[in-house]
């Protein structure tokens, strides 16, 4: 029964990892910007929801709307006012990375100052487990996590394949120069990518807040997993990032079946290293040719 329990836990965690990883992969794939501050977006969304729903007592739908708007706006603002100026002055990839890292630190400290540096959680009966069978517990948030991931991925797939903006984003990831030739504005498309990628962290942030809780440094772990999942899934592949996130969530939990808990996070990175060594293109990544 322990194995089954860990499998259920792994699917729940993996679904949330998949959502944040797809958001990161979408941004990186479209814009080639290493958006380390993706973790900061996750943290901000969680805390906005917490403050409105748990502290101010606002209806959950209003808090959700605010968290969603906040995440999207933050992503776009970072792109417009931090990354765009650096790229306009021909800043290097490393310069953008350092700027993004700096934003993460600033946001972490601002959140700590505004909301306190301790742990907070979004209290909800949905996080309390129900005993499905002797020794097998699952909270409603497990089903919600999977449902949210499925809905978001179906919506994202529709958006990217059936809308002009979605197709333009896919074109941007393939060939930014050709996108300009067709009269599209890569800068505006970049903003769309950031907005969309940032929106995808919201379900994960809220569900993490309800299950594991929030702390100002939460974004660091999220960022690490998003990056690992993107590589495992294949850089540029959203489907791959989703599979990578799910795989890492499962690996992290199933490792507890036989290994001590101190090794469960290390297993995540062993999986990453195995992919880097034996399948560097990831699940669905494309091998780059010159």
């Amino acid at each position: 029964m322990l194995f089954l329990q860990l499998l259920v836990n792994g699917i729940q965690v993996g679904a949330l990892y998949a959502l944040t990883a797809v958001g990161f992969s979408l941004i990186f794939g479209s814009t080639r910007i290493f958006h380390v501050a993706h973790g900061a977006t996750f943290t901000l969304a969680g805390y906005v929801f917490y403050e409105l729903y748990s502290v101010a007592g606002a209806p959950w739908i209003a808090a959700l709307a605010a968290a969603t708007a906040g995440a999207g706006i933050f992503g776009v603002l970072v792109d417009r006012f931090v990354y765009a100026p650096i790229q306009r002055h021909e800043g290097s990839f490393f310069t953008v990375f350092v700027a993004s890292f700096g934003i993460t630190i600033v946001v972490q400290n601002l959140v700590g100052t505004a909301f306190g540096r301790g742990f907070v959680s979004i209290s909800s009966p949905l996080s309390r487990s129900v005993e499905l069978a002797p020794g097998l517990y699952a909270p409603p948030t497990a089903a919600i996590s999977v449902l949210a991931a499925v809905v978001c991925f179906v919506g994202l797939h529709f958006f990217l394949t059936r809308t002009h903006v979605g197709m333009a984003l896919r074109a941007l990831s393939e060939n930014p120069d050709l996108v300009r030739v067709f009269g599209l504005d890569p800068r505006r498309l970049s903003s769309y990518a950031f907005a969309l990628g940032s929106l995808l962290v919201v379900p994960g942030a809220l569900l993490t807040g309800a299950t594991a809780g929030l702390s100002p440094a939460l974004g660091n772990h999220v960022m690490l997993i998003s990056l690992a999942a993107t590589i495992v899934g294949g850089v540029g592949s959203l489907r791959g990032a989703a599979c990578g996130g799910l795989l890492l969530g499962l690996a992290e939990n199933l490792a507890l079946w036989q290994l001590d808990p101190q090794w469960s996070e290390a297993v995540t990175f062993v999986v990453l290293f195995l992919f880097i060594v034996f399948r560097p293109a990831g699940f669905f990544g494309r091998v780059a040719t010159q």
Partner: protein, 373 residues
């Protein structure tokens, strides 16, 4: 015309002036504090510094020393390496004779710096038993974890008839020390350590670990972690079907745990401190702490108040004798005086620089907690 070079020169001059103004003057006595000011354990740094700052204010208000006492805070982030960097700065740049420390791992890392430079380092928060063996210049004003476990285990086994324990402990000297204590103490009273689950310091997901803990069928879950991680463990264990009694050491004595709904009913040990005492030092501390911070004090704040007061008492003694306030002289003075009137009553130092205090067991009740034993 304002050229770029003139603007840069003006900015540099302003920065230098601001820096010079902020630096301690020659009229001050500066001591250091190597505390977590950022990161997941910053809430402890907030609590520690509240006690320390109150003591600084009282020392200066009472004119205990010939000069103004000033604290230089450096950020350890509760991690050994930043802690050593901070300690080196306090010792080599600021040249403090005395510094506050916290967290077992940080204290163990900075102890050689203190010993080498003959700078007194005082811990009021870390509880690893190893902290009693870090040399002449490392002192503890908090009873260490071995005493905490020795208070909790007999109570649970003999009085509450709970014998089967599972330990969830952080990968840190503190966690290792509590594991060792439980392995030693439980068999003595007829208890059993049914499982020991070691977790990384930065772990945040505990649903799977809750499943492992449930598998061992414990009667008690002992949590040996700190900071936000403790709160996460408690919440996720309760959410994932762990209904057994949760117990811990004094690390639970923080607002985040006391107010966490899922922590209600949990037990934790701490040094015995009578907040209602009429002893003038304790009464003054409690009154002033409530007035300044709008809440009741806790043991950590009291320990760091004591740590600063201890310095002031020793330094006052040295000034009366016309001796310089150095680490060496502070050590000699502590050994000569031996017992001090601090918050909580008379505090006596052992030869190894640690204190022994009576312990109590507290229960989390959603407010300030209450004593159960």
């Amino acid at each position: 015309m304002l050229t770029r070079s003139r603007a840069l020169a003006g900015f540099a001059a302003a920065a230098i002036a601001a820096f010079a103004a902020a630096a301690a003057s020659a009229d001050d006595i500066t001591i250091g504090a190597d505390l977590p000011l950022s990161g997941p354990n910053a809430q402890y740094g907030d609590i520690f510094s509240q006690g320390a700052n109150l003591a600084i204010a009282d020392v200066n208000a009472d004119h205990m020393l010939s000069k103004t006492l000033v604290m230089d805070y450096e950020d350890s982030q509760a991690l050994p390496q930043p802690g050593v960097v901070a300690a080196n700065k306090l010792v080599s740049v600021v040249r403090v004779p005395y510094m506050l420390s916290a967290f077992t791992s940080v204290s163990k890392a900075i102890a050689p710096v203190a010993e080498r430079s003959k700078t007194v380092a005082v811990n009021g928060g870390g509880v690893g038993p190893d902290l009693a063996e870090l040399g002449d210049y490392f002192w503890n004003v908090i009873p260490l974890a071995n005493y905490e476990v020795r208070a909790m285990v007999p109570y649970l086994v003999s009085e509450r008839k709970l014998k089967r324990f599972v330990l969830v402990y952080v990968d840190d000297p503190l966690g290792d020390a509590i594991l060792k204590e439980l392995q030693t103490e439980l068999p003595k009273v007829g208890g059993e350590l049914a499982g020991a689950l070691k977790i990384p310091r930065d772990a945040e997901q505990f649903a799977g670990i809750a499943a492992r803990a449930r598998e061992a069928k414990p009667e008690v879950i002992y949590i040996a972690s700190f900071g936000a991680q403790q709160s996460q463990i408690i919440k996720q264990f309760r959410d994932n079907g762990v209904s057994q009694l949760i117990v811990s050491y004094s690390g639970f004595d923080i607002p985040a745990i006391k107010q966490e709904p899922e922590a209600k009913g949990a037990l934790y040990t701490s040094q015995r401190m009578d907040w209602e005492s009429n002893d003038p030092v304790t009464k003054r501390f409690v009154t002033e702490f409530k007035a300044k911070y709008g809440k009741a004090p806790n043991y950590y704040a009291a320990n760091y108040y004591n740590a600063v007061m201890l310095f002031a008492i020793l330094a006052q003694g040295l000034e009366k004798k016309g001796e310089a306030i150095t680490g060496e002289n502070l050590l000699k003075e502590r050994k000569a005086v031996g017992t001090f009137n601090l918050v909580g009553g008379k505090t006596e130092f052992q030869a190894n620089g640690s204190v022994i205090m009576p312990m109590q067991i507290n229960e989390v009740d959603g407010k300030d907690g209450h004593i159960v034993h």
